[in-house]
Symmetry: C2
Subunit: 209 residues, 2 copies
């Protein structure tokens, strides 16, 4: 679990504001997560997420002091873009990015919770499917859903996935899961805070791709 643990998310302050700089720093280590899934089939997903991050970073870099928190970005863009907002700029990029983050979070949580297909204990399809259903499915049309079902066959074995999360080092499964559990604490509350912000600011969209 070295991959993720070396780049823990910061603990949120009492007001739940997410600091842009440290958020961008932490998420920048997530695209390689999709390499852990093993297949080149996931390259477009990795690219999509990396694209979201690049877009948010470009906005932040244009004025770091003005965009100290993610909420400041959404507020400024709302102001700036009028009726185009929220389907625009870093607001749109973060809208999709948070779904990818939720996917990762639910997948890891489900593994940590020991959810598994008793007939195929070394497959993670149930965990991946759960994450997909909670985070993404409703934003995907039937075709992308169909592609997801096909891509599911490329999901790695549970043991290979845990090993990949530990950067290929042989570690005890229990140790790895314990680290995932630790990682999930701040990660989950950050993702939750971003979802809450989208709800409160009425920035969430339901269209499908």
């Amino acid at each position: 679990m070295a991959l993720l643990m070396e780049h823990q998310f910061k603990q949120l302050p009492a007001d739940k504001q997410v600091e842009t700089r440290s958020f961008l720093e932490s998420v920048s280590y997530l695209p390689p997560f999709f390499d852990c899934l093993g297949s080149t089939v996931f390259a477009p997903i990795k690219a999509d997420i990396a694209g979201n991050i690049t877009k948010i970073k470009a906005v932040y870099d244009s004025n770091p002091s003005r965009f100290k928190t993610l909420q400041q970005i959404l507020e400024a863009e709302k102001e700036m873009h009028g009726s185009e907002w929220p389907k625009v700029g870093a607001t749109l990029a973060l809208m999709w990015l948070k779904r990818g983050l939720r996917f990762i979070q639910v997948l890891l949580q489900s593994l940590v919770d020991g959810e598994r297909d008793e007939n195929n204990p070394n497959l993670i399809r149930v965990n991946v499917t759960k994450a997909y259903e909670l985070a993404l499915k409703k934003y995907h049309g039937w075709l992308v859903q169909k592609l997801f079902k096909a891509a599911l066959f490329a999901a790695p074995y549970r043991s290979d996935f845990l090993k990949a999360l530990s950067k290929g080092r042989e570690v005890k499964e229990e140790d790895c899961l314990e680290k995932v559990r630790q990682f999930l604490v701040n990660f989950t509350s950050t993702v939750d805070a971003i979802y809450d912000m989208y709800t409160k600011m009425n920035a969430e969209l339901e269209y499908t791709v």
Copy 2:
């Protein structure tokens, strides 16, 4: 067919050498071709091809006079990379790019030749499938082949596709097809020349993704 016709490929010289500069210029207009297919599902394909072009361009730009022709690039990289070659650098990028070009070429040729499914004359699935089988299928493992089959459902209607090729202008189908025919002359001989070069230089690889 404005899209492609405005950026015809150059006629090859007698020695069939492809000039890098004009080749890069002409292919740079091809990624938008995948927008003509209509669905965001094709975005990763567009990105893959655009990535190939970027990679070749970077090598060219590093020394335009040394890399005047595509063959000079392959020769220099063969020299430079030893046993890693040809799975490396612009040689690898062009190896894949030419397959995408072949896909486009066969698809357009098949439309021009009037090949169609008589029961579904406004679908282009037969043409897309033919192009896929000739250009790409053998380089794809079963999973990517499965994804292709699913993605095929996102292929546009024949009429919409021809319209998109004409940049959305209403043009007579026969006029559009005539322009495609013209475009195919130099395009096909350029793609053929690149394939011949890979065969002659023993630079073709058969691995699947």
